[in-house]
Symmetry: C2
DNA sequence: GTCTATACACCGATAGAC
DNA sequence: GTCTATCGGTGTATAGAC
């Protein structure tokens, strides 16, 4: 299974630099522009070095994607443990910088079998995690729990947020203000700010 | 501006076949797999014929995209004129077959300047159209019109629907049932079925 | 650890034969 | 209207020099 040629170590600065370069190329030029040459160029190295650290381009891509999903997993976990989980998840999913990369990987999943199976497995795992940790919502708004389940609400908000974020990165803004207004209203209803208001003008 | 070499007519069966092939390749293998060779192969022709009908690959791609946006525009217009516009828009946006192609074009916009400007212009135009035609919602649920604007509601639903559709095409289903439950509840509240119920068991 | 050299397939695009 | 032939550039991947 393993390749015959000489390979570099699993832990290496250059290896990390190459993975960083994959993300940079994905963000700026999309997955279609991704190649050993484009990645190495971005890292300031000759393209053959890619094959010293990674068996194939798919290997590099999958490694990069796994680092990415790990980051998302950790951020989601942190958001679920924060004071207002839904607010935190909304903020994270609608961030334009991250949304662009996420959508690129999602689109890539559509025709790369390795990335697709990883996306499916990761997506299901992430949602199970959310469903477990957020098994009960603060029923502040008196919502029907048969309709408004924690996973349904969380997913609705993060799906909306992620496209809004991507569109912002792209340069589309029509209807965003109105959509955010609705989302933020829902967030306020579901997670009212219970913290005592900070006296204005007294910040250090 | 125009190219020097001999070019085919604007109206031609082969031209249409090539545009159909672009959509097929985009759907099945993604925009990264799109090339004159892959498109022609799909159409059962030699790849050089592409450059007889289209000046460049970008020209072919943009032409295909414009046919696509035109279709979406017409469907949206039809949905807005239907008995329950929001229900119709939800159904259209969450269709997996269409959602996959749409997302592919959106992702492509991220790194192809021509497609990007087309996407931005089309997105804004579509939303203006929705905002104009749907300037008032049936205020059945007693919602605050300062929060729940027609464009905000429509966009929220179509954003959710389009990713659900794409994920379905991809093979992810976690949380979908719960999310659809919420969306459909909202749709029922906003657009209750006023048509007299059909007697069951009497269908032709 | 990174480089040069090399292999072969595919890319967009053009010119000209039929 | 569609084909063959051809171009330089880029794609993944390997072998071996330094």
């Amino acid at each position: 299974m393993a390749v015959k040629r000489r390979m570099g170590p699993e832990i290496s600065g250059t290896r990390t630099v190459l993975i960083d370069a994959v993300e940079a190329v994905m963000r700026e030029d999309g997955y279609g522009a991704l190649s050993a040459r484009s990645v190495a160029r971005r890292a300031g190295l000759k393209y053959q070095i890619v094959f010293y650290y990674f068996e194939t381009m798919d290997d590099l891509l999958l490694t990069s994607y796994r680092r990415r999903t790990q980051t998302v997993l950790e951020r989601t976990e942190a958001a679920l443990h924060s004071r207002r989980p839904l607010h935190a998840i909304w903020a994270a999913s609608s961030d334009p910088f991250d949304a662009a990369l996420s959508l690129e990987y999602i689109a890539l999943s559509n025709h790369n079998p390795l990335i697709r199976s990883e996306t499916i497995a990761f997506g299901e795992r992430l949602r199970r995690m959310v469903a477990d940790k957020l098994s009960r919502l603060p029923a502040t708004a008196g919502l029907d729990p048969g309709i408004f389940t924690p996973i349904g609400i969380t997913l609705s908000l993060s799906l909306m947020g992620s496209i809004l974020g991507f569109e912002t990165a792209l340069g589309i803004s029509g209807g965003h203000r109105e959509t955010k207004t609705i989302a933020e209203w829902c967030l306020r209803q579901l997670e009212p700010d219970t913290r005592p208001a900070t006296a204005k003008g007294r910040q250090a």
